[in-house]
Symmetry: C2
Subunit: 199 residues, 2 copies
């Protein structure tokens, strides 16, 4: 015996979270014992709620608690542009910028032949159907991550969509704001040179 | 809107845990969405359980799911020695060593005039009562932390208990195993000199 069963069970649960090891889990569990009853009850309810009340938007594939999601049902947003992203977290980052007023399509993944993820396994069929049915769409901005899978997915989508006459663009790649050229990796520098613009 | 309500509520709950900020909480929340239903349900149950099923042992004050606790009800443990510790986590550390076979008394705190914590606010009255009633006890080992509050609590207990004729000892202070004298602080070095032993 080291811990009473309720504590060891909670430690086990905390340890299932990413980046939380043995000692941190024990610290969190003992901290939880000291927390007000109400906060712990809210925590438990919130856990149950994210599994029960969330689903994917039937239009854009984003994680949502209403269908269609808040963005898809917002009539003030520009219907002519669709920004394609890998995950719902990416949407949050983009929305924080407050400069993009179009709509989204969330793939909820990325093409990865190594992991056996093909176009049918992520939200590519729904994107194609959406582009075919919605005549207001004039531009698709592909905003997959700057990883090899993200690049491959962008190329795949570009080839798939271009024949339909819809404009396909890709987020600019280059130096991050505030970054130091001395520490930039070669691929970033190459992209920065390739994408240079007149000033 | 950045997150659907169920996600933002879970992020708020994760942020109440120590050492977990905004970004980590969001990462944990999105991770939770992807976890198997069963693991999340177990997590929620474990949270409720630590608040509902745990109490303090009526003998030693340790956190327990049974009363008396597992150690107090273990007849094989030496009844003549009581180790006084600040918290239940301290007991876990001591039990991991597997060399102490006596019993415990957990103060669940430490004397701290600055915070208004007096002897009545921690398990000192129950310790005194226990020492008066249990004639088998011949030694009390004080194992409060090596902080100023821990030292003050040890001194207070020592003065309180000594007149009764029970032996009062304190854990040795000095260099940690594997530590480097070069980096030891002055107080530790002073304790190491003061507590030097013949070899």
């Amino acid at each position: 015996m080291f811990y009473p069963e309720p504590i060891s069970k909670l430690i086990d649960s905390y340890m299932k979270l990413p980046g939380i090891g043995n000692k941190t889990a024990a610290r969190l569990a003992f901290y939880t014992i000291e927390m007000p009853d109400e906060e712990v009850t809210d925590f438990a309810k919130a856990l149950i709620s994210v599994k029960r009340d969330l689903s994917f938007c039937s239009i854009c594939g984003n994680i949502t608690d209403q269908d269609p999601c808040e963005i898809c049902s917002d009539e003030s947003r520009d219907k002519s542009t669709i920004l394609v992203m890998e995950s719902s977290q990416d949407v949050v980052a983009m929305e924080k910028m407050r400069e993009y007023h179009g709509r989204y399509h969330i793939l909820q993944g990325v093409l990865s032949p190594m992991d056996g993820t093909g176009p049918e396994d992520i939200n590519i069929p729904t994107l194609i159907k959406r582009l075919q049915e919605d005549e207001e769409i004039i531009e698709v901005i592909i905003a997959t991550n700057a990883t090899s899978e993200g690049e491959a997915t962008a190329m795949y989508l570009s080839r798939l969509i271009k024949p339909s006459g819809i404009k396909v663009t890709r987020l600019a790649h280059g130096l991050s704001a505030g970054s130091d050229i001395e520490y930039a990796d070669e691929v970033t520098l190459l992209k920065a040179i390739e994408g240079r613009q007149e000033i």
